[in-house]
């Protein structure tokens, strides 16, 4: 067994354990911390795949932004109230199973497709996880999806602004943090 495979197995095991921790722990803050661990191990895996830019973006966006936002929300609404009302709705189980199946199918499809041998595109992508390669790909080949996502983010930003305006005076810190995302 090569060292890189051993390393992958170790990091993957931590990642899986953290993912399990997210759904099993009853304390929301602990869940958030497990989520953070999961994101960090994913970043490590990206680095082993030579995708340094993706790894850095993973840490900046997820660890530096989203998990902090989650913690912020938990602290503001009080983390100790374990509210399971979402799990008691009749349809939530069905929807969960359906979404899980779709995810499983998609993942297994993409894994099976890769088994046949890496396509030319992936080979090219593997060469360039560097910021330059990602930037060039984003602004040439994928410029339309890129611009569409920018538009989507703008809409979300304006939505957050509108929501924040309605509760003016309720507290200055909260709307501003929303606008940040």
């Amino acid at each position: 067994m090569s060292w890189s495979l051993l390393f992958f197995l170790l990091v993957g095991a931590v990642s899986l354990a953290a993912a399990l921790g997210v759904v099993t722990s009853r304390q929301p803050v602990h869940s958030a911390l497990f989520l953070l661990t999961n994101f960090a191990t994913l970043a490590v895996l990206y680095i082993t795949l030579d995708a340094q830019f993706l790894a850095a973006a993973q840490v900046i966006v997820y660890a530096g932004g989203i998990v902090i936002l989650i913690l912020f929300v938990i602290m503001l609404i009080g983390g100790d109230t374990n509210d399971f009302s979402a799990a008691q709705r009749a349809w939530s189980r069905t929807v969960g199973i359906a979404l899980g199946t779709i995810l499983l199918l998609t993942v297994s499809y993409s894994v099976l497709a890769r088994m046949a041998g890496p396509s030319e595109e992936t080979a090219a992508l593997l060469q360039g996880g560097t910021p330059e390669a990602v930037g060039i790909a984003l602004f040439t080949k994928y410029v339309l999806p890129f611009e569409l996502i920018a538009l989507l983010l703008l809409v979300a930003l304006i939505g957050a602004l509108v929501l924040g305006r309605q509760q003016e005076g309720a507290g200055e810190g909260i709307p501003s943090v929303k606008a940040n995302e």
Partner: protein
């Protein structure tokens, strides 16, 4: 050989770096106490050793032998994790800072700038988790303040970093220092330095922006429930952060290890970097001694209504300059 290159040499470098940083922390506390005393026309520590130079050692012994107290009402795993999470980012941010010609502290990666942004992003975890796990209203308030403050000031900070990156044209900090910069670029950079320094003050929770730990309204905020070595870890984190951010500012704005003859004699590089870092640390302490703390809403308003538009404008002008003059 692969082993040595990949694991052993970086590990040795990292150990030396940590040793240097922790020693630097110890003498930074001495430096700060001496300077603050001089600003206030006092003597400062002068009993332990010549000029009080043994004071940090005495403080360390005291912290080690304090009784370890864990209050009953805390969330124990998170409570114990928080001080470590506070210290780690302050240490690992050093990995990409060049300390001499062609020599980064640990590794010359092609995402040096992003590394700094990423580590700055996770810096607030220690404080947030400490405040939450303490299960104490004052601590929680301190943690909320700090997370809002750090997340907000990260934006202008990141935008200033992006501007420097646009002008430098490379993600590597080693290339940034070694590359040639025309005179107008230096002037343009130095124009941004005061604002960058204000953001750094807010990011490191240093006075006058030490609102997460205001002792007169929040009884030390997130640190209230911590004692002994665990408190000392927060203390170390704050001071190592000062050193790290000073090194980053020296690298970005003042040429890092560069100085007369540093190209020929490599060992001069770290000495020049040290001199620049000490001057910037002096600035930190000078500000602490001279300026009072703003109110919390003033702090946030300043960030969102002044710093953010300013940094956005700075990015735009930098991009124009990079396109037309480079």
């Amino acid at each position: 050989m692969d082993w040595l290159q990949l694991l052993v040499f970086p590990a040795i470098r990292a150990l030396i770096l940590i040793f240097v940083l922790l020693t630097g922390f110890a003498y930074l506390t001495w430096f700060e106490r001496k300077l603050l005393a001089r600003f206030q026309v006092r003597y400062g520590p002068n009993r332990a050793g010549k000029f009080g130079l043994l004071q940090p050692a005495a403080d360390a012994v005291k912290a080690f032998f304090k009784e370890e107290i864990i209050p009953n009402h805390v969330d124990k795993p998170v409570y114990l994790l928080a001080p470590a999470l506070a210290l780690v980012p302050a240490l690992i941010i050093w990995a990409v800072i060049p300390i001499a010609k062609g020599t980064p502290a640990i590794a010359d990666v092609n995402i040096g700038f992003l590394w700094i942004l990423a580590v700055a992003g996770i810096e607030s975890y220690g404080i947030i988790l400490a405040g939450w796990s303490s299960n104490n209203n004052y601590s929680l308030l301190g943690a909320l303040r700090s997370s809002a403050q750090m997340v907000s000031y990260e934006l202008p900070l990141g935008l200033f970093l992006v501007s420097i990156l646009i002008l430098a044209g490379s993600f590597s900090l080693v290339d940034l220092v070694e590359g040639f910069r025309p005179w107008w670029e230096w002037i343009w950079l130095w124009l941004a330095f005061p604002f960058f320094f204000i953001c750094i003050l807010a990011e490191t929770n240093r006075s006058p922006f030490d609102l997460p730990e205001t002792e007169n309204e929040l009884v030390a905020g997130f640190q209230t429930e911590y004692g002994g070595m665990k408190f000392a870890l927060f203390f170390i984190a704050e001071y190592v952060n000062m050193i790290s951010t000073s090194a980053i500012m020296a690298t970005l704005f003042f040429g890092g290890w560069k100085g007369p003859f540093a190209e020929q004699y490599i060992w001069l590089g770290p000495i020049y970097l040290l001199i620049k870092v000490v001057v910037l640390l002096f600035l930190f302490i000078w500000v602490r001694a001279s300026i009072g703390r703003p109110r919390y809403d003033q702090l946030m308003k300043f960030c969102w209504q002044f710093m953010l538009p300013l940094s956005l404008a700075y990015v735009s002008v930098s991009a124009v300059l990079a396109v037309f003059l480079k």
